[in-house]
Symmetry: C2
Amino acid sequence: MATIFDVARAAQVSHQTVSRVLKGDPTVGAPLRERVEQAVRELRYRPSAAARALASRRTRTLGMITVGQPYYGPSSTAQGFNAAARGAGWDVSIEALEDPDGADLPEAVAALRSRDVQAVVVVAPTPEVRAATLQVPDRDVPFVMAGGGDDGFAGVALDQRAGAVAATRHLTDLGHRRVALLAGPAHWADAADREDGWRAALAEAGVEPGPLVRGDWSAASGAAAAEALRDAGATAVFCANDQMALGLLHALHRSGLRVPEDVSVVGFDDIPEAAFFTPALTTVGQDFAALGRALLGEVERLVAGGETPPALAAPRLVVRDSTAPPR
Amino acid sequence: MATIFDVARAAQVSHQTVSRVLKGDPTVGAPLRERVEQAVRELRYRPSAAARALASRRTRTLGMITVGQPYYGPSSTAQGFNAAARGAGWDVSIEALEDPDGADLPEAVAALRSRDVQAVVVVAPTPEVRAATLQVPDRDVPFVMAGGGDDGFAGVALDQRAGAVAATRHLTDLGHRRVALLAGPAHWADAADREDGWRAALAEAGVEPGPLVRGDWSAASGAAAAEALRDAGATAVFCANDQMALGLLHALHRSGLRVPEDVSVVGFDDIPEAAFFTPALTTVGQDFAALGRALLGEVERLVAGGETPPALAAPRLVVRDSTAPPR
DNA sequence: AGCTGGAGCCCTAACTTCGCA
DNA sequence: ATGCGAAGTTAGGGCTCCAGC
């Protein structure tokens, strides 16, 4: 590969001038700039990221840690973050954890650190991974959590609470007085926010909170919750994500209960498949790509001291066929 | 940060000895090795990846390009690849393309090249992205395609054809004589393999191929295909992925046809939700994590000249409730 | 065999020099 | 002289590799 000196020789300038042209320094005169740019093109010169990092002590690299199953939300968030980062000239180094308990987190963080990433973004952090992250010695770069910061972490999250309020209010507006929550796992920030919203909307409507059953985000856990929900006499169930709603729909169908005639069901996330559930799922749509971009905004704020990223749009209710007034 | 010289001083050896200990060189004597290891621990020394890359001209970094929607299969494959790569000491730099037509591919490849990645893995390459990849000038590192190589690319794929044969044979064994294919998009390697398997199994059973309708992997396209499939009188449909099967189930239900009584449906992939479709979907399970590991194996073979990775386990049929003998 | 020393990888940052109003 | 804009020069950054001892 050509080096910066080869380019300098070809353009008959010093290597420093080449460096200046590369970074768009305006103090380089037009004629020299031309010559350098042409030499770069002719030699197909690409600067070496390694040498740059070594000399400048900045790697222009961010670390991204993903956790758990490849669900739609986290995957979309990661993708949005990625695209935004590339657009801003960042390189993204990824570490996919296999263990939701975070057993492989130290190893992953070590790998990112030896890469000298300038910040780390954690997507879909389980409570265990959050805790493990706190244990990391010498956290000398910013960590940003997708899905809400706390415990001394920065974080960015969509307004889950507002989404949950919209979903629950939709049910009370339909006349439901026994509105259950099929919640996400305890200690997850996302799950807690959705639970808060559910409680708030019910309080506002003057309705006692219905039964609360906890799942683990999976369709299987949604199916497993069906019996308890039915026994508790819920006429409507707000599910903390679409997968659990799918499992619930499945189990209700099996037990002979009809949706929405016997029970109304609302999901959360609006995964692309939700419109094709049977019946089509009423759910809450979220803009994960925007969340990804916001994560990058927060990272840049922490790294370079930019301004606070603009607030994210609130999730919006998408009404389909799985909700109706109670009988 | 501590440098290798700091460690050398603390351990009273030369920096070169430290380097040897770090890479596990057996020519270092036990006492020195001890001293060095202790100094490393005490100083919390981590080698600088940038300096290493610069000096050794090897970055120990792989590029991964992902394309399109975050579907379960590709996401799982990416995750498996990632975990395997970290285990083998590779760093993975990721580029998520937003445009399935590959408009942002050159930019992504340029980013990876300036990072001096030693190989590039492309997950879920659309035909457009394959084509765009061929246009990349100076492809000086190996490119490995997940989902089958050709056009001068290396590739690793699960045996889609065998899976498709199993799915189709299951339907003919049940007595179906009019077995349709809800195919993936034209020109996708995966789609073609599944189509081949369908044809082969039908030929073997002495059954004329039923209608073939093409979708785009999405549930929406599966729903859109329902009418054409019904009009063609198919009693069974093999869908090239689970999402399209979901859309089909949904549309069939709406039009009053019952599954499996009126039509049998088989999917492909066995996404975690498939067991909770209504009815539970008979489908073909694939080990995406193994595919991810095999991708890494192929990369290492190309980079270091290792042995050919072992063959992947064949996909296996998972029979649930969406298939039955024709009436 | 077991260890040390120095050169070199490719850049950037800081300083220096040059030329001209 | 004075100052400033536009270039060049030098010194590392932290490691591996290749002689040497």
